[in-house]
């Protein structure tokens, strides 16, 4: 298959010259130039965060998971799953931002969110990479991850929710990457002369077999992809195989039960919308994209965030009321423990504040502020990390086997575990620092 990155298939070489681009497209391409001092400083900070995380991980690899705050549950007095798994859930949830925004644009015709569609897709890729990283981090023997899992998948997929997870996350990652590739080919071709030459082989791969007239088909394929992923990701990933990791285990009343699917999904969508809001705000500020990512985008994102946060709170209520009213022993213990935990209430207050903020803006539109909307978006994102980590920890702290309760249990993440949270942030930051110099972060308009 021939690649056509440098030579247009027909006519003379005219593409890539300034007059072809509209003012909007020139603004979109603004970040592609030489790195500014501010960029280099940010890059330095991101690299420092990543290096700190890396040395923490090397420490863990050398000495084992003994360096975490984890222990065995039961007589071990701790929890075997903690912040790593909580963060894993969190990042998979944030990864839902990409598809929700894309689906809203392509399937529901919510054009006002189109400006942030590609940003959200990129966030999905970075967040899924982090989710994968957290699985590797969590393992006692990460060097066996491929040789032990892949050859045995035909066996394990029959009953292991973790095998399902690995499969579906791979599928989601691959579909998102393909979506991005299909929708970015046209843009890359248009601006090929402005892209960094070092990465030419990579662009060549993305542009494999590119033809000028392919855009209508590519758009249509993106539509089908969005349709596929909007069913796959919410219903079967964060409303499916991720909650099923927990909801299918009968020995853990905190986890077992059918509400976990909807509950996880609500959490995912809440944190995802919050994360997209923050991302959009950062880029709007950095590259003066006030016209490109206008106030409407933030208004729309805030409403979605508020709605999802409300659903999330509502599902918490369902869970608490069934556990607190006339519950069998196990469920009752779980609800009591949950209601006694200040961290649980912190998460709920953060969510309620999100809902309240959106409510006020709806009632009094003149109070709307982009900056405050972005600041408030941090709350639900944090709330989900707290609540999901608590959820993971509760499971083995409140087992059906009642005798263990008297032995007591506790968990506090170690510095190595906290370093991973910093590391995951640094990786997302690095990812976007690279992306901003290598691809147009917003979709280009019709140039010709």
């Amino acid at each position: 298959m021939s690649t056509t990155i440098t030579e247009p298939p027909e006519g003379s070489r005219i593409a890539g010259t300034e007059p072809q681009l509209t003012a909007r497209d020139r603004a979109v391409l603004r970040p592609l130039g030489r790195p500014s001092p501010r960029y280099l400083v940010t890059l330095g900070i991101a690299l420092a965060g990543a290096v700190w995380f890396a040395q923490g991980w090397v420490f863990q690899l050398r000495h084992g998971l003994v360096v975490t705050g984890l222990s065995d549950w039961g007589t071990g007095g701790g929890v075997p799953w903690g912040l790593y798994i909580g963060s894993f859930i969190w990042w998979v949830g944030i990864a839902h931002g990409g598809i929700v925004v894309s689906a809203a644009v392509r399937l529901l015709g919510l054009e006002k969110l189109r400006p942030v569609a590609r940003l959200a897709e990129l966030l999905t890729l970075a967040a899924l990479a982090n989710a994968g990283l957290y699985i590797v981090l969590h393992l006692g023997r990460p060097e066996r991850i491929v040789t032990s899992i892949l050859p045995n998948l035909p066996q394990t997929i029959r009953s292991s929710p973790l095998a399902w997870d690995v499969t579906v996350i791979t599928l989601y990652f691959v579909m998102t990457g393909t979506y991005l590739a299909l929708t970015i080919r046209h843009d890359l071709y248009e601006v090929r002369d402005r892209l960094p030459r070092v990465l030419r082989p990579l662009y060549r791969v993305v542009l494999v077999g590119y033809r000028n007239g392919e855009r209508p088909k590519a758009e249509r394929m993106a539509w089908w992809l969005a349709l596929g992923v909007i069913v796959l990701a919410p219903l079967f990933l964060h409303g499916g195989v991720i909650p099923w990791l927990f909801a299918l285990l009968p020995g853990t009343p905190a986890w077992f039960g059918p509400v976990q699917g909807p509950q996880f999904l609500a959490a995912a969508l809440t944190s995802a919308m919050g994360a997209v809001t923050i991302l959009a705000y950062v880029f709007r500020r950095l590259y003066r994209w006030d016209e490109l990512i206008d106030d409407q985008v933030f208004d729309g994102l805030a409403r979605w965030t508020g709605l999802f946060a409300l659903l999330y709170l509502w599902l918490q209520l369902q869970q608490v009321i069934t556990g607190a009213a006339m519950a069998p022993t196990g469920l009752g213990t779980v609800a009591a423990a949950k209601l006694a935990d200040p961290l649980f209430w912190l998460a709920m207050v953060l969510l309620a504040a999100t809902v309240g903020h959106v409510g006020v803006q709806l009632l009094a539109p003149r109070l709307f502020s982009v900056g405050r909307t972005a600041a408030v978006a941090v709350l639900p994102v944090l709330a989900v990390l707290i609540d999901k980590t608590l959820f993971v920890v509760e499971g083995t702290m409140e087992p059906a086997f009642g005798l263990y309760h008297d032995l007591g249990s506790s968990y506090a993440p170690s510095w190595v575990e906290w370093s991973s949270v910093l590391g995951a942030f640094s990786i997302v930051l690095l990812f976007f620092l690279v992306a901003v110099k290598t691809v147009p972060l917003l979709e280009l308009g019709e140039a010709e």
Binding site: G76, I149, P154
Partner: protein
């Protein structure tokens, strides 16, 4: 229901019986199906050519089904369907599968994926009646022969009868296990709860070992097949060479019997230097290596040894003779004989229970005594764990080495 074994699928008589079962369910000619299936195997082994196989049954096929869509059938261009594969389970038929997928929408990407599944034999009819992972699969571990896994039609399933009415909480069993397996600090493979019911003075005991569940959640959830059931005796074991240390078995087990190797065993009080490999050559015994899951395993190397079979470190050490190990499916096994004898002594009114039976795990440990109620409370036993130099609260000993920045901080 019995666990399916990959070995018994290869057993001719078992295979034949299953084929008959499947064929009888279809309402078609059973004798014809059997012949076709046998000849299909001859095709694979090279005894019979594909063309000859195609010719041989063409008319019979047309007569029975009204069509013959096998790939080797005369004048047949249509792809074979999955049914045709039943008689020829190992035949590589990726091409036909691709055709089927093509008809489904040209899902060429799926071929890679599904093709792998197909070759694994998972689409075979007998796979439908099987259970979850039962042995280390493609990772090279050897699964014991199917013949030794069955006595007649019955599966061998090791378990225990533990007489709680005899247990006096001395912790000999906990210590013997720790010594024989060289366990790291805080890994208490058997654990003895001492508890009291609200209105009772007496202290009661619950000896918690692995329950060797027939419907084991830990096997089901394992993403690698490391946690598996050994065919020879039904023991639920961990393949130390395959385990990735995800600890899913640990969170899935309602009994809390799993103990992870959080750090380097040698620097965590572990002292195992024995042979970890059982008769199959799979590393399953002793304190697990770093990053790998361990648990009470009923001393599989003892069960491999005809002279020590039916014993475990804990059962031998128990001064009260309260622990009996053996095949729970064999009425003549030591645990079943003991249970029968105790029942007889008690005039048929012996209280017994299985732990958390309502969770559906089908545990294979039968306790003589009464289960702790929901209001039972832990109390100090007659012998403290510290008296045996055993560590109960593992959190206290799971302290990794100091990181460099703390060492620097300490120096300045």
């Amino acid at each position: 229901m019995a666990e399916r074994t990959s070995a018994d699928a290869d057993d001719q008589s078992v295979w034949g019986a299953r084929a008959r079962d499947v064929l009888e369910g279809t309402g078609y000619d059973v004798a014809l199906g059997g012949q076709v299936a046998r000849d299909a195997q001859r095709v694979i082994s090279g005894e019979l050519s594909g063309e000859e196989f195609g010719r041989r049954y063409h008319e019979a096929y047309l007569h029975e089904f009204g069509l013959d869509d096998r790939p080797d059938a005369p004048s047949s261009g249509s792809p074979a369907d999955d049914e045709g594969g039943e008689g020829a389970p190992e035949e590589p038929r990726i091409l036909s599968r691709r055709d089927v997928l093509g008809a489904l929408g040209g899902a060429a990407a799926g071929v890679l994926f599904l093709g792998e599944f197909y070759r694994s034999g998972i689409f075979r009819a007998d796979a439908l009646t099987g259970s979850g992972a039962t042995g280390p699969g493609a990772t090279g571990a050897v699964v014991a022969g199917g013949a030794s896994a069955t006595t007649g039609a019955k599966t061998v399933q090791y378990g225990m009868v533990i007489d709680l009415e005899r247990c006096d909480g001395c912790l000999f069993c906990v210590d013997a296990c720790r010594t024989e397996n060289g366990l790291a600090d805080g890994a208490l493979w058997p654990y003895v709860f001492a508890y009291q019911e609200p209105d009772e003075e007496r202290t009661q005991f619950l000896v918690r070992t692995c329950q060797q569940c027939t419907n084991a959640p830990c096997i089901k959830v394992c993403p690698t097949t490391a946690r598996h059931r050994r065919l020879a005796d039904g023991l639920v074991l961990t393949d130390y060479d395959v385990c990735i240390g995800c600890r899913y078995c640990e969170v899935a087990c309602p009994y809390g019997v799993n103990y992870f190797q959080w750090g380097d065993p040698a620097s965590s009080g572990g002292s195992f230097t024995g042979e970890p490999r059982d008769a199959r050559g799979v590393a399953v015994d002793g304190d697990p290596p770093q990053g790998v899951m361990g648990k009470c395993n009923y001393c599989p190397l003892r069960q491999d040894d005809p002279e020590r079979r039916g014993t475990t470190a804990c059962s031998v050490a128990c001064p009260m003779d309260a622990i009996y190990v053996g095949d729970m499916n064999d009425p003549e096994s030591a645990p079943n004989r003991y249970l029968a004898q105790r029942r007889e002594e008690a005039g048929g009114r012996l209280p017994t229970f299985r732990l958390l039976e309502d969770l559906g795990t089908e545990p294979n440990v039968i306790y003589i005594g009464t289960p702790p109620s929901a209001r039972a409370e832990l109390v100090e036993g007659p012998v403290a764990y510290e008296a045996w130099d055993l560590i109960e609260d593992r959190r206290g000993v799971l302290e990794g080495p100091q990181p460099w920045f703390q060492r620097i901080g300490a120096q300045t």
